[in-house]
Symmetry: C2
Subunit: 327 residues, 2 copies
């Protein structure tokens, strides 16, 4: 909490009452946000300084609309409720929520967020789609940094549910809570982080995998096609519905995560990736075991196995593949 | 090729004619292999020195059978075609293919593979389910190392299609080719590696993600539940059918992987994970771009986007989730 935050106005309307959303930056991510908010029935104003911005944006929304229609549009959802403005100020003038999706440059985002703060009605939350910059580093020049929040989506924002929400040191706690609630109302799946970590959670994880993939290609250890196939034919099938921790817990059999860690603990030190493994001390071991048990809840091993199997079969069916189909 | 390999007999029967498979080690992975081979119509002999091995194995097979039945059993598939033997020698005496799935210990696997080589009919391939040990390190004490191959599955082997196949320095090239073909006939999706890399491909990738996850939990940056949700609600939905490289190529918009690398190149150096990023030089950049173009083949950007969207929707449906369903 910054001292100034007490003097700034509260967030104007409850998340449930938001009707007008502004999207600044309308590339792949910003345009995806526009499509999502339109499909959820919001009135959307958009601004992007790029050439042909409106043409590209409407093309992106048109390309996404059949999928969104199939998923079921919210009452009143209409592509005609999109207004592309000539200036940033027009886009945010009446906005009840602002989503910033500019190119990934700290300098650029710092300046843009300060501009947005100056042009947006007092107290209205301005969320950044940054893929990894901490808000603390981006909010430094804004007059009211308290309303600036990270709302990190995944591509495409109109289909991938996850949004990671986290504030910076000067962000008001109410602004973070409001943003998380707003995204939920807008149909997203929200993880609210109580501390800033560069890359947040999902990007740190997928980035670790991505960096190892880049190293493997650079070293001639695997082709791009091998890397992609190794995920889609392997772990990726499980990750669509069961995360890496619970998945590995099942690899421990009835002994679960505890057995898995005790069994694979030694090979955790093997040179299996360029990322060094952490020391698997009691505290970490227990944290993993307890977390998996919390996640499993009432589901015992047999129930989790059955759930995983049903999930893999459903995913294989849904994506037109069935193992053993060939023979 | 080792000098000895010329004097050893050729692989006895074509992959298509294999009827009898031996599985040595019948835990989660070995038992999963047993279930897979039974479902594909093979006669399976299994040996595991553990207490209650047969009870546990039959329980695992029974638990998997409904899923395998739903997927469609091969002609003649029958749980009664499983014979659990009292000794390792009995299990492999008449085997036309042997799958070793012992605990992950280099010493143990080295000794076991030598024993299997001594007890298995000449030339019959013995494949190891090792999660990451190079065969070169495991085949050192076998009389005929030429028939020893890595056949690394994913859990559960009866549902996840991927098997990574790679030989060691002393493995005969024909044995590697035979094994890859055999797994294909047996209904698996095969990646054949032409060089040994500890952890192979998929495990290096998921292990990099896993290690970052362990670091985050150890540092109190995220809970186990957050980590799992960040994947299942985010990147995991895409990875079930589109790998990380092609997925990131789409994040580059119409500019594809080239734009994505040029755009995110700088933040590739951000401290987004504990794994250092490689130097994104021209060679690596081009390798990634060319690989994605090869993978995309005739599919242009619009076609890939439509495919991804259909895939995500299918996966969301299949796993009982639809974004925006709440609002």
């Amino acid at each position: 909490m910054s001292p100034t935050s007490r003097t700034t106005p509260a967030v104007p309307c409850p998340p449930e009452e938001v009707r007008r959303v502004a999207c600044v930056g309308a590339g792949v991510i910003g345009g995806g946000w526009v499509a999502h908010f339109l499909a959820r029935g919001y009135e959307v104003t958009a601004f992007d300084p790029g050439p042909d911005a409106e043409v590209r944006l409407r093309r992106l929304v048109d390309a996404a609309w059949p999928a969104l229609t199939e998923l079921g549009l919210a009452p009143g959802a209409d592509r005609d409720r999109l207004t592309v403005t000539a200036t940033l100020a027009e886009a945010v003038a009446d906005a009840q929520f602002v989503q910033e999706s500019a190119p990934e440059s700290l300098e650029l985002k710092r300046d843009l967020l300060a501009q947005l703060d100056a042009a947006t009605p007092p107290g209205v939350v301005v969320a950044s789609s940054t893929s990894g910059y901490p808000m603390t580093d981006m909010q430094t020049t804004a007059a009211d940094p308290g309303r600036l929040v990270v709302g990190h989506p995944f591509n495409p924002p109109y289909l991938i549910p996850l949004v990671e929400v986290v504030g910076g040191e000067d962000t008001r706690a109410e602004a973070v809570a409001w943003t998380s609630r707003f995204y939920e109302v807008a149909g997203k799946s929200v993880i609210t982080m109580d501390r800033e970590v560069p890359g947040f959670i999902a990007n740190r994880l997928q980035e670790a995998l991505w960096r190892e993939a880049l190293h493997m290609v650079a070293a001639g250890e695997a082709s791009v096609e091998d890397i992609d196939a190794s995920i889609t034919e392997g772990p990726g099938l499980r990750w669509a519905f069961m995360g890496p921790c619970l998945t590995f817990a099942l690899a421990g059999g009835e002994g679960g995560m505890a057995h898995m860690l005790d069994h694979f603990g030694p090979s955790l030190k093997s040179p299996w990736t360029r990322l060094e493994a952490p020391e698997l001390d009691e505290a970490l071991r227990d944290a993993m075991v307890d977390g998996c048990e919390r996640e499993a809840g009432a589901r015992d091993h047999a129930a989790l196995v059955a759930e995983r199997d049903r999930g893999v079969i459903a995913v294989l069916r849904a994506t037109g593949r069935l193992p053993g189909g060939q023979s």
